[in-house]
């Protein structure tokens, strides 16, 4: 039965790019274990001969014309929510040390 240790939780948090408080780590290791225990019931379900569902209404490869359409957005309007900009571009911290 799946049980998440504090180390497991810390590893997941790192994968999800979230830092957690010490209390949250403890709390999530208990809560996520309980949720996993609940969903574990699926492991006993026989699904032989069935394929997995990825789309429910049967649409496949929805295509459109590859052309530019002007929605009338001003670039500065689209950038108004960006925390840091420079010369109409997003400014982020240095990525390569």
């Amino acid at each position: 039965m799946a049980k998440l240790t504090r180390d497991d939780v810390l590893k997941l948090a790192q994968l999800a790019r979230i830092s957690l408080s010490d209390d949250e780590v403890t709390e999530f290791s208990e809560e996520l274990s309980a949720i996993l225990q609940y969903v574990e019931q699926l492991s006993a379900v026989d699904v032989s001969g069935l394929v997995s569902t990825n789309q429910v209404t049967g649409l496949t490869n929805v295509m459109r014309e590859d052309s530019i359409k002007d929605y009338g957005y001003a670039p500065l309007d689209l950038l108004k929510n960006v925390p840091k900009t420079q010369d109409n571009q997003l400014k982020v911290k240095r990525m390569i040390g």
Binding site: L12, I18, S43, V47, V56, K80
Partner: protein, 474 residues
């Protein structure tokens, strides 16, 4: 007299000049101000609403035709991108976010001259069944202020129950329109997956999210579906609408084949809920419907499937909140990685974090097949159960939820218990079929909802039979 007349009557009176859009907007804003204690509303869009109302009145005064929803005020759940107020999804991380464009649904409603007056509270990012997961505050149930309105579209449902506006918009990923409709005695409609565009609605579980109205009557809900349905190039999962539209009259129940879902009528239902639902089904039978009990044996698995697929999609959809492009951004980060991790630690509430963690786990290498792929395959089983049921009946019926509105705080410390409130609504989202919750009486003073379910793309037929059931039950 009702606070609001039927939506088509309001629009006709605005068109004829008998009512003014500006007065309707003031009426709605006045009701919102007078009911602040219920905390249904996150913010109003008063300035923009007043401007639009003036423009609509001027258009009519000039002898032009206004739209089908002329001057009708409405309230949007705060996960719809709307001009005139921030779009926060009731989350701290999106506080101060000013939408650069509007949702397709809002654009369609505005094209028919409806007027958005306010944004309604929700569980942050629509994660929850009570609005207690809102990062701002909990909405109170208009029928009992010590109880939740249901969720996640709890602010929208409470708004309609309080008559703050003739209708509200909600989103339904695992029951988020139908459950609050059930808890507040309103009508909540979840269309076939893809019938209404998701463009411009903050994404939660993209293979499950459906957009729909909450209203005081099936007639009003159907009109909003009619205006908002249809293909949208901005949402590639949208499907064609029915050629005949969704404005329907009540169909005769005589001869309709209706299946009672056995798995939803078992133990675990509150006695008061059972009483209302059984009485409603009996009335439907008396009206001439051919009612039979049907088993959909994989339905009890739906919640477990949901709590794998939904967090998986949530963790992927919420990865965009990284503090670099929009929303809250941690200012004192030493490097890029810390900017991500601190932004997300501070910006996300507990439930969002819980779902991101859970989703990350089921999608991570080594667990993907055992959890995510397995869940997607059991999902096929659920879809097959519905398909088989609809070979012998036209509609399925059962309760919307096994309980009436619970007390604020009652489930707050037990996420699994909270998830169980969705046990009768999530299967519908798994299968992408349409469903509606309509009021069917009260148990100890609290509203009970009856859920009607139809095959994919049978929205028109479902709305029509729901109107008939509504006439019978009210």
């Amino acid at each position: 007299m009702a606070v609001w007349e039927p939506i088509d009557t309001i629009a006709a009176k605005v068109q004829s000049g008998e009512l003014k859009a500006v007065d309707l907007v003031e009426k709605s804003l006045g009701l919102i101000a007078g009911n602040e204690s219920f905390k249904a509303i996150v913010a109003t869009t008063a300035d923009r609403a007043r401007e639009r109302a003036k423009a609509i009145d001027a258009k009519i005064a000039a002898g032009e035709n206004a739209g089908r929803l002329a001057g009708v005020p409405f309230i949007a759940k705060d996960n719809f991108l709307v001009f005139g107020a921030d779009t926060t999804a009731a989350s701290n991380i999106l506080k101060g976010f000013a939408a650069p464009y509007q949702s397709t649904v809002i654009e369609k409603l505005e094209a028919e001259d409806a007027i958005c007056v306010a944004k309604a509270n929700l569980d942050a990012f629509a994660h929850g069944s009570s609005t207690e997961n809102s990062d701002f505050f909990t909405t109170k149930n208009p029928h009992d202020e010590t109880r939740v309105p249901g969720g996640s579209s709890g602010g929208s449902a409470a708004s309609v129950a309080l008559n703050l506006a003739p209708f509200a918009l909600g989103s339904d990923t695992g029951g988020s329109i139908r459950l609050p409709a059930s808890f507040t005695g309103t009508v909540g409609y979840k269309p076939t997956y893809g019938l209404v565009s998701r463009s411009g609605v903050v994404a939660m579980g993209s293979s499950l999210d459906s957009i729909g109205p909450l209203a005081s009557s099936v007639e009003d809900a159907a009109l909003i579906v009619d205006v908002t349905a249809g293909k949208d190039e901005l949402d590639s999962t949208t499907i064609d609408q029915d050629d005949q539209g969704y404005v329907v009259s009540a169909s005769s129940l005589a001869g309709k084949k209706i299946g009672v879902i056995k798995e939803y009528m078992g133990d675990g239902m509150q006695p008061g809920v059972r009483g209302c639902v059984e009485a409603a089904i009996e009335q439907i039978k008396q009206a001439g419907a051919e009612v039979q009990e049907l088993s959909l044996p994989s339905l009890p698995l739906a919640l477990a499937v949901y709590y794998i697929i939904c967090p998986a999609e949530v963790s992927s959809n919420l990865s965009r909140y990284d503090g670099q492009r929009y929303g809250f951004s941690y200012a004192d980060a030493k490097n890029l990685d810390e900017s991500y991790t601190k932004t997300r630690e501070i910006g996300f509430g507990k439930e969002a974090k819980r779902r991101i963690m859970m989703g990350t786990y089921v999608l991570s290498s080594g667990y993907y097949d055992a959890y995510y792929k397995k869940a997607q395959t059991v999902r096929t089983k659920i879809i097959n159960d519905f398909a088989k049921a609809f070979e012998s009946v036209d509609f399925l019926v059962g309760p919307t939820a096994p309980m009436t509105a619970f007390k604020i705080g009652e489930n707050a410390n037990d996420p699994l218990q909270m998830y169980l409130t969705d046990i009768m609504t999530v299967a519908v989202n798994m299968a992408g079929v349409p469903a509606i919750s309509i009021p069917c009486g009260t148990a100890e003073g609290l509203p009970v909802g009856l859920q009607l379910i139809a095959p994919q793309r049978a929205d028109r037929e479902l709305l029509s039979v729901a109107r008939a059931a509504e006439e019978l039950l009210t």
